[in-house]
């Protein structure tokens, strides 16, 4: 009989062979960074002839709970680039700090504005960051839209997601917006050629309308949002907009809404 306490209750070595401790390992790969906790929903953006409009609401959800209602999810990088964040909010805050340090490093070397990183540079950089982190099995749980102007001061819009996948299109939307807003945006701006005929006013109106549709149909959204317009004149960022002219009349006709039973 084995008198050592650690052997009590275990299969006997002389009968079953040495006990495999591999079943008892308490350590393993970190998994808590591999799912989002506090999240932001859609970011939508559309190019127009002189620049890009980008918008995201100000809600950070904790699961289905509308936990934080004044989280700004658009970040101005410099006079010609804005980043919109969908997905995990803490990872967004990490990226925000990363971009701040990049900005400081850039401004030590380069004081003239046209030599600074433009939206295309920034998108390339962020996509490499995202890909590096997914390759470490520790992804940043975000879907980013980078909006602004490229090296030739032409409108630039591209996305990078948590896998490091990049995509570019005259209209882009992340999360729920990819399903709900993207088709609406595409009605007005179906391809790159149409961009030249879209004015700033049209683009802003289109984005506001899409934000309203998202608020109607996306349960993780809210009616307070941020919107930024990036042109050669710089970034015009408004962070406390409210959806106007809401009409919930259509809701009455929806099966399952309110007290209606069938």
């Amino acid at each position: 009989m084995n008198h050592l306490p650690q052997a009590w209750g275990r299969p006997r070595d002389d009968v079953y062979g040495a006990y495999s401790n591999s079943f008892l390992q308490t350590s393993g790969p970190t998994t808590h960074t591999q799912s989002p906790i506090v999240t932001g929903t859609s970011v939508i953006a559309v190019k127009f002839k002189d620049g890009v409009v980008i918008a995201a609401d100000n809600l950070a959800s904790y699961g289905s709970l509308a936990r934080f209602t004044d989280v700004k999810r658009l970040r101005k990088f410099n006079t010609r680039a804005v980043v919109g964040f969908g997905g995990d909010v803490s990872d967004m805050q990490y990226l925000d700090r990363l971009l701040s340090s990049l900005d400081i490093r850039e401004n030590y070397a380069e004081e003239s504005p046209d030599a600074q990183l433009h939206a295309k540079n920034l998108h390339t950089y962020l996509s490499k960051v995202m890909y590096k982190r997914r390759s470490d099995f520790n992804p940043l749980w975000n879907h980013l839209l980078v909006a602004g102007l490229d090296g030739e001061n032409k409108p630039f819009l591209a996305s990078a997601d948590l896998l490091g996948t990049t995509f570019s299109s005259p209209t882009l939307a992340t999360g729920f917006g990819a399903h709900l807003a993207q088709p609406i945006l595409r009605r007005t701006v179906p391809d790159e050629a149409t961009v030249a005929s879209v004015t700033k006013e049209q683009a802003v109106e289109l984005v506001k309308e899409s934000m309203k549709v998202l608020f109607y149909r996306d349960a993780r959204s809210m009616d307070k949002y941020s919107i930024a317009v990036i042109t050669k004149e710089g970034v015009e960022l408004k962070e406390n907009e409210k959806l106007e002219n809401q009409s919930w009349a259509f809701a009455e006709g929806i099966r399952g809404y309110g007290t209606q039973v069938n």
């Binding site: 070397a109 380069e110 046209d114 030599a115 390339t124 490499k128």
Partner: protein, 255 residues
Amino acid sequence: MFRNNYDNDSVTFSPQGRIFQVEYASEAVKQGSVVVGIVSKTHAVLAAIKRNAEELSSYQKKIIPIDSHYGVALAGLASDARVLSNFMKQQSLASRLTYDRAIPLAEITLRIADRAQSNTQNYGKRPYGVGLLIAGVDARGPHLFEFQPSGVTQEMQACGIGARSQMARTYLERNLEEFEGASREELVKHALRALKESLAQDKELTIENTSVGLCGVDENFKLYEHAEVQEWLETTFENREAPAEEEGMEVDSDS
């Protein structure tokens, strides 16, 4: 005999506040053959005299293209320059990969300067024995930077380093006003004339020993050697005597 006790390493100051190893490194630059660089509003040019160790050997490389938008000219230890230029190539490629951007010249100059400086402050290291002229075009236009083994860098309008480079610098100072508005061809001519000023009496600029590196707004950095510099040499020195060269160099048959 007098012995200098303060030149054994690069971390010890002499009582006069000098670091002799760094000064000796600067002497190595002065041993190298001359290179000049000039910038205009639209172009940056490097010109250099190549030396061959003996008649039968090839000429030592003096201008190294680094990235499509810039290159360097070296004076001093060529092997040290190779180490530095490999580092610059790496950094330039890294910038293109991570930012999709041609690295700004001020930035790459700062990076090699930092490397060179650390060699003057760590025990067991030695300063680079090479001076560089870094010329090219970035988002802010054409630039020329001078790099010294001490880690000192300066942006220049025109510059010459290497053996007898004082004569070249005198030429550059005299013609300074003309550089800014100069055309591509005029700029190369100025560089070649400055180069010729520094030449020893019995030497000539030939297609074998002359290197030109040229870069412009909307023009990638390119190294011109051999037949490619022939026309520049002909038009720049129309009045010179025919050199006693062999192999069909009808550079200056008469005129």
